[in-house]
């Protein structure tokens, strides 16, 4: 709290007053969050910080440089403006950009209150590392030290290998653990979705490599809940900022400004779905249905939230539809407007954080690593799958096999001794996927 006060004192007095007032207002409405630490940021630094995901110190990586260039370009072209930058820590750190107008600052502050409440209370965030600022700074120190020892090329190459696999963690790990009531930190055993964790423990690696995989895994696990709750989280923050601001924080002259700014964040291109917009509408719908909003924000992720709330009325009212490629014209066209189909499609997209489900089923003959893609009707991108599998094989230093289906045919993708092959799995063999 003291630290937060110190930082906030860098804000101009009017904003410090507003921060206090908005925070009080938010708490009076039932939002509950760790202390807020608003930091004053120059517009010139926004892109750099955004490239780092809001954390001032990250382990050196060219990928941040690339993201920075991309952001700088889009920013310079006026295509996008970053309104809010908030991170899940205790205290919650959020940035206010110096060049924004006062009403924009109020909007950001109110929005941040919503996120902060969500971070604290949503079940999927329960085990996230709230000291991530320090953790990431430690990771950075570690990586720099390894670079000094082994040279940038080698460390970078290794980190890039790991980062290709950073989607291979188990989103439901914490849940499983709490259900099994097993002690945290036990050995990771197959079958598991935690491929990174398994490799960190079992691949033939040097100690420093093991350490870096573990870091990549920790970062991936930290960011994963945000992927699982994007619609809910953005919707929740937008839902509350709109309540707070129109409930007295803005004066009448600012309302127009707000409407402008708010619609900027929640608008959508024709035919397209914006997660902020979908989120806020789902929360409004939940309220209209008389649901307990605070209970919902505690228990759900995007998939279960959509499953619960996306009913006939919602689909009809918001004119949602499923679109599909017309094989003849090659164009996307409206295929179905039924709530069941819309829900089904959205759920498929949201399940597992929108990623293919890859399970490590065990270690087979010749210490070959066996992976299984749990096929849900959507094929893998073969080129990328092959490239990624090669990276798994590089880490594992033995053959790696991935069972999947491509265009309806069961396949086994194999990297072995530096060559790739894709083998049909005969029908008589049990279907691996």
């Amino acid at each position: 709290m003291d630290g937060a006060r110190r930082s906030q004192s860098s804000l101009p007095p009017n904003l410090r007053r507003w921060a206090a007032e908005i925070e009080r207002d938010a708490r009076s409405r039932g939002l509950d969050f760790f202390a807020l630490d608003f930091r004053w940021l120059d517009a010139a630094d926004v892109n750099g910080l955004a490239a780092y995901g809001g954390f001032p110190v990250r382990a050196p990586s060219w990928r941040f440089g690339m993201e920075y260039e991309r952001l700088s370009k889009t920013h310079a072209w006026g295509l996008s403006r970053i309104y809010e930058l908030v991170i899940n820590t205790d205290p919650v750190v959020a940035y206010l950009v110096r060049s924004n107008s006062e009403s924009e600052q109020k909007l950001v502050m109110a929005h941040v209150c919503g996120h902060a409440d969500f971070f604290r209370h949503n079940a999927w965030f329960a085990s996230t590392d709230r000291g991530m600022l320090d953790t990431l700074a430690q990771h950075a120190v570690r990586v720099r030290r390894e670079i000094e020892r082994h040279g940038i090329e080698r460390v970078e190459r290794f980190l890039d290998l790991c980062l290709s696999l950073d989607t291979l963690v188990d989103p439901y790990d914490e849940l499983r653990r709490s259900l099994r009531k097993s002690a945290a930190g036990g050995a990771i055993t197959a079958p598991t979705y935690d491929v990174l964790g398994f490799l960190a423990e079992n691949a033939p690696l040097e100690d420093w490599e093991r350490e870096l995989i573990a870091q990549v895994r920790a970062e991936a696990r930290y960011f994963l809940p945000q992927r699982l709750t994007r619609i809910m989280n953005e919707g929740w923050a937008s839902f509350w900022h709109s309540r707070i601001l129109t409930g007295g924080v803005l004066d009448s002259s600012e309302i127009v400004d707000f409407a402008d700014c708010h619609s900027g964040a929640t608008q959508q291109a024709p035919g397209r779905l914006n997660p902020y917009k979908l989120g806020i509408e789902l929360w409004r719908h939940a309220e209209a249905r008389g649901e307990d909003l605070f209970k919902l924000r505690r228990a759900h992720n995007d998939a279960s939230f959509v499953d619960l709330l996306l009913d006939d009325e919602f689909v009809a009212h918001h004119a949602l539809f499923v679109h599909q490629k017309n094989a003849r014209t090659g164009k996307q066209e409206i295929a179905d407007r039924s709530a069941a189909k819309v829900r089904e499609r959205l759920l498929t997209q949201l399940a597992w954080g929108g990623l293919p489900r890859i399970e490590l089923s065990g270690v087979g003959d010749g210490r070959a690593l066996e992976l299984v893609h749990r096929h849900d009707g959507r094929d893998l991108d073969l080129q990328k799958a092959s490239d990624t599998l090669q990276r798994v094989a590089t880490l594992w230093k033995r053959p790696v096999r991935l069972a999947t289906r491509l265009e309806g045919v069961a396949k086994r993708l194999v990297w072995s001794e530096g060559t790739f092959e894709s083998v049909d799995v005969t029908e008589s063999a049990p279907d691996p996927a």
């Binding site: 630094d45 780092y52 060219w62 690339m66 995007d302 599909q324 066209e333 929108g354 893998l380």
Partner: protein
């Protein structure tokens, strides 16, 4: 701030390495041409993104919002990123484009092909005032005092004279220790040059031939632009008659009919006489054709125009023959025969895009 500059520099370093190692490929594709604007060019870099397990055709189907009946096509804006969840990491889908300065690209080209820097013709080297403060001397104004060098010489003197005491490390610079930044005049090659790209657009020059010309012209301009502060590019096209055109026309025009090469050389000469006097400009005429001239008589005329009028005025004359299904390639033979041993005339023969790099080396390798 936030050390992002270091990450960005590393990214750029990787990018430069990629482009350098793939330069041969870029040399033979038109990929870069359309993307250059001003001083930079956007280079598409496939596969710089790290691969992940991803769904194929992720963008294809999804959920959208809006009016319309079943079977209505979505507007353009609705395509691409329609769904949820999937959109979370959609930026990974696009090929990364990186801005590279033309200057840097030229440097890579120079290194790849082993090109020497251009030695300007004659002694018309202007000692242009492009000196930089990268020298050091022992006198100068205080405002230019070089602190580190001053301190270093003071330290050296202190140690040499035995006054250095590690327990009480004190260094007092004296007058003689002072060092000052000084400006070193850097002779810069004469700063103006003009390139003439003359292209045969007669019926036999097809799309592929023009594409090759286009790629060659792009790299020639890029290289020469790095060698001269001011480069003008003039485009001429000819069939039986020649005319000056702008950049776009040059690359898209398709005429038909006969070929009288001398018409282009005459126009080039006229322009040099009227606008680009040889004692003020470095002049580079390039001529591209499939090698069929209208008559042996006209070829004779070309040779004499070259020998008597053009060559005395220009740095180098380059003829790039692009093989086409219809061209005989006779013109190159004629030129080679007429200018045997004259290194002011460079002729090349290109049948395929792969050979563009060699052509460029032949054109630019003399450093004239």
């Amino acid at each position: 701030m936030f050390r992002i500059e270091a990450d960005r520099e590393r990214f750029r370093e990787i990018v430069r390495g990629r482009i350098r190692s793939d330069l041969r490929r870029y040399l033979s594709t038109p990929e870069l041409l359309a993307k250059h604007a001003g001083k930079t060019v956007s280079v598409p870099l496939p596969q710089i993104e790290l691969p992940h397990f991803e769904f194929a055709n992720e963008d294809d189907d999804g959920v959208g919002q809006g009016q319309g009946a079943r079977g209505d096509a979505l507007s353009e804006g609705g395509e691409g990123e329609p769904g949820e969840g999937a959109a979370g990491n959609a930026n990974a889908e696009h090929a990364v484009e990186v801005e590279v300065e033309l200057e840097e690209l030229a440097e890579m080209l120079g290194r790849e092909l082993g090109l020497p820097h251009v030695e300007p013709r004659g002694r018309r080297e202007i000692e242009s005032d492009a000196g930089r403060y990268n020298g050091v001397r022992s006198s100068g104004p205080d405002s230019l005092r070089h602190f580190r060098r001053t301190f270093r010489s003071a330290l050296r003197r202190t140690i040499a004279s035995g006054q250095w005491d590690p327990e009480h490390p004190r260094v007092v610079p004296q007058r003689e220790d002072f060092r000052f930044k000084s400006r070193r005049p850097a002779p810069v090659p004469d700063s103006s040059a003009v390139v003439f790209h003359m292209m045969d657009v007669s019926g036999s020059m097809g799309r592929e031939q023009k594409e090759i010309v286009r790629i060659e012209a792009f790299w020639i301009d890029t290289w020469l632009r790095s060698q001269y502060r001011n480069l003008e590019v003039v485009y001429l096209v000819h069939d039986a008659t020649a005319k000056q055109v702008d950049h776009d026309t040059f690359f898209h025009l398709r005429e038909s009919g006969g070929t009288r090469i001398s018409s282009a050389y005459e126009l080039c000469l006229d322009l040099i006489r009227s606008r680009y006097p040889a004692d003020e400009w470095n002049i580079y005429p390039f001529h591209y054709s499939d090698g069929d001239n209208w008559s042996a008589r006209d070829t004779e005329r070309c040779v004499s125009l070259l020998r008597d009028e053009l060559l005395p005025r220009v740095n180098q004359f380059c003829y790039g023959q692009v093989r086409s299904a219809y061209g005989s390639g006779q013109f190159k033979k004629d030129l080679d025969h007429a200018f045997l041993g004259d290194d002011r005339v460079v002729t090349t023969n290109v049948a395929e895009r792969d050979e563009i790099a060699d052509t460029l080396r032949a054109f630019l390798g003399a450093g004239r």
